[in-house]
């Protein structure tokens, strides 16, 4: 795509945001006001700013992930604005903040490149652990950063500075940092991790030493689930780790061990933890308790079914009937208002994003960059499958965000950082 084509694409996404928000206002019987222009302009500033940042700091980068993200971001933003204009007006600033931080990351990486990431891998591991543990800070006290309990999970921190307080989910950032660490660690030790296998009767049996890293990841994932009650993050981290370990070593046995541990952990969680058992029941038989545990899933199904093939149109359905529509269930909300047509577009865009990330990983010559690109692509794809799969009843529902579409600052920041890393990888490979 030419530079002009890329700019036209981003401009079109911004215009789409303007038209979409205008349509939402009109369908609510409200005038087209300054909100519409402001949304469109701030959205354009965020994406064009990031685009120019990439052109300036990583000029050889592949433009595709950013373009796909702008399309997803536009659809998601209109739906969030439609569900709650107040959330929408916050979300557009989060786009700007996230794009700014992503450009900042590119600037940091400008001179030394991704070697910085590699060099500070253990610092990153510690940082990731700290980020994961931050929400366990006391809920009250004099310390400016406090944990926050939201819907039974300890995923949030509140940073208070005087009267200003800011909520954030550090786990979202931790996911990216952990992938950075894993890519660095695995590119160092892949040979050792791949070599040690024994054949017993024709079957490849892993060496006990191989079990150690898998075991650590498993324990960490279980800890996230038990301590923070975050099923989604736990599944996501474990699945990303196992697939990346497999990608680094080519050892199918890791998938076997990981799968086995995953099944054992799932079974234990289902038996031991009520909140997991409730979710499994709501997944298998949501209509058994349509006003209780199955409520959200049932409302999501009603929304998507009511949308049908072509949808009600932005602002003309009732996706606001779904609890947490703007975060967990934004896919169902888009499904109601844009219909199956819109749902297919969204899933296709995510598949294209995975393809773009995979392309960057496959073309990379440097092992670390290859693993980093692969890890970021995997965690992105797995997250999309987990949350949409939960909404469409393919999987039990886990409360994680849909990248670039769900409302939420932490999620947007994390995904823009992911875009910046992919841009930097492709830039270094093409340089």
């Amino acid at each position: 795509m030419t530079r002009r084509g890329e700019l036209t694409f981003l401009a079109a996404a911004s215009v789409l945001v303007g038209f979409g928000t205008a349509f939402v206002n009109l369908s609510r019987g409200q005038p087209v006001d300054a909100e519409v222009g402001l949304s469109s302009i701030v959205f354009a500033l965020a994406f064009l700013g990031f685009y120019w940042g990439v052109k300036a700091l990583a000029p050889n980068a592949s433009p595709h992930p950013l373009l796909i993200a702008s399309a997803l971001g536009a659809i998601g933003f209109i739906e969030v604005y439609r569900l709650d204009p107040r959330l929408g007006s916050l979300q557009r600033w989060w786009f700007l903040v996230a794009a700014g931080l992503a450009v900042g990351l590119l600037a940091i990486l400008r001179s030394d490149g991704l070697d910085v990431v590699r060099r500070y891998r253990y610092t990153m591991l510690v940082a990731a652990l700290v980020l994961l543990l931050l929400p366990l800070l006391p809920l009250a006290g004099s310390f400016p950063i406090k944990g926050r309990l939201v819907n039974g999970s300890r995923l949030w921190v509140t940073a208070g500075f005087g009267n200003l307080s800011l909520g954030f989910q550090p786990g979202e950032i931790a996911k990216i940092v952990i992938i950075g660490f894993l890519a660095a660690f695995l590119s160092d030790h892949r040979a050792a991790l791949a070599a040690v296998t024994h054949k017993v009767g024709g079957i490849t049996v892993p060496d006990p030493r191989q079990l150690v890293p898998v075991g650590i990841a498993w324990v960490a994932s279980v800890a996230v689930m038990v301590v923070q009650r975050d099923l989604g993050a736990s599944l996501l981290l474990f699945a990303a780790f196992i697939t990346l370990l497999y990608a680094a070593t080519g050892q199918v046995s890791y998938l076997g061990i990981g799968g086995g541990l995953f099944l054992a952990g799932s079974l234990a969680a289902w038996r031991l933890f009520d909140h997991v058992a409730v979710r499994v029941a709501a997944w298998l038989q949501p209509f058994d308790d349509p006003f209780g545990s199955g409520y959200q899933i049932v409302q999501g199904l009603y929304a998507m079914g009511s949308g049908g093939l072509t949808g009600a149109g932005f602002g003309l359905g009732r996706p606001d009937l779904i609890p947490f529509a703007a975060t967990d269930f934004v896919f169902a909300a888009v499904g109601e208002e844009l219909g199956l047509a819109g749902s297919v577009v969204v899933i296709t865009l995510y598949a294209l994003m995975v393809a773009a990330g995979a392309g960057i990983a496959l073309q990379a010559r440097n092992q670390f960059r290859k693993l980093l690109a692969a890890g970021l692509t995997f965690i992105f794809g797995i997250q999309v499958i987990l949350i949409i799969g939960g909404v469409v009843r393919l999987l039990p529902l886990t409360g994680i965000t849909l990248p670039f579409m769900s409302y939420g600052g932490s999620s947007l920041v994390a995904n823009f950082l992911l875009l910046a890393l992919l841009a930097r990888i492709s830039h270094e490979e093409r340089a």
């Binding site: 019987g29 892949r190 697939t243 497999y246 990608a247 680094a248 070593t249 080519g250 349509p290 049932v298 199904l301 009603y302 998507m304 079914g305 009511s306 949308g307 049908g308 093939l309 359905g317 009732r318 009937l321 499904g335 219909g339 199956l340 749902s343 297919v344 899933i347 995510y350 598949a351 995975v354 393809a355 995979a358 990983a361 496959l362 092992q367 290859k370 693993l371 692969a374 692509t377 995997f378 794809g381 797995i382 999309v384 499958i385 949409i388 799969g389 469409v392 009843r393 393919l394």
Partner: protein
Amino acid sequence: MNGPIRRVVYALFVGMALLLLSTTYIQAVAAPKYRSDPANSRVLIAQADKERGAIVDRNGLILATSEETSSARRSFTRKYPLGEITSHPVGYSTVLFGEAGVEAAFSDRLRSRQDLAISDMLTAMFGGDLRPQSLRLSLDATLQQVAAESLGDRLGAIVALDPKTGGILAWVSHPGFDPTRIPDPAYASAVEADPTSPLVDRARSATYPPASTFKLIVAAEAIESGVATPDTLFVDLRGLELPGSTAILRNAGGDFCAGGDDVDLRTALVRSCNIPFASLAMTLGSDAIGSRAALFGFNAPIPWGLPTLASVWPDYSGDLAALAQAGIGERDVRATPLQMALVAAGIANDGEVMLPFLLDAIFDADGEVLEQQVPRPFGRAMAPSTANALTELMVGVVERGTGTRARVSGIRVAGKTGTSEAGTNPPAWFVGFAPADEPIIALAVVVEGGGVDGSGATIAAPMARRLFEYWLLGR
């Protein structure tokens, strides 16, 4: 490393393909099921702001209407000018709180069909009218008001109907509610939580011991079967020892019915004496009384379009003591106010019970009559001669018996009082009709707790008189 990476990416693509499949199933295959599921609030919301047809009384007075709140969005709110007074028969139609009354029973006629469902578009293509239709009820708004005023603050119900057609003239259940405010969740939940149950339509969804008004059915069975005539004599006792029990059944007041020798059926009914009717019930048997009660509508919901509780005559075969008490409308005999109004109406209409109706006619949006109610018989409860004999007895009740407070000057009124003494909230009753020779109104009045501070004679009969006076004399 590219091989494993490729394979993981393929796995992700497979996962996304499954997402597409599942999404397609939900939005294409299962969509109609989810879209029309009654638990899907969108079904009701689609009707929420839509225009609904008007509901008017027999004289065209508006009882319910849709007022446009925003012409840009064509959104409407439902208004009920008479408010609480017509709240139970007219009911309400809301998104959050469902529907009730006529609004519920004829919702399909009142609703606008312009909601772009494919079936509606086909209807329109073939010239069908999608605009909401309007209803005219048989109710008379002024009589309704008189009934509500006469009931006052007492909990209870009044049902009045035209005995010749079955058309309901007044239908009051107190307490009521303000139907215009039901869409407000705070108001709706407050009303729902109210211990006096304002949302329960006592006229059809509550049953009470019919007490002495049930004697009309026992007398009907006795006369019709030839077991007794109005002149048949009974031994006049102070107390009747119930068979197989130590309990003693007494007349109201505990004295003889007519001085202590013999008493005829006529006097027993006029003075509402319990002992003759208890012995009569034991003579007739549980099955005979039950069959007669069923001819009036007992033991099955009245099939008239609105959900109605069945009135109950239990099987007392083999338990004479219980049968004796049931024969005077106590024990576990239960009746809705509507049921007892039908008993009065059946006697008034020469023994033929007409099926009650609230809906008089349906109009299209241009005011053309689409359907006109045709009076339909529910069934014959007794021969005309029996009905005439009972009418004479009931006239005696009002002229010289327990029902004198229902008397209207210059008009022969027929009636029967009832006062329950059982339970914590024993009701007081009056059922009757007028004029006795050419009845144009039959009614039932029930007052909860009326048996505590009064009786059917002192509390219910005066209320009935006010309805008779308005309907017959216009005052």
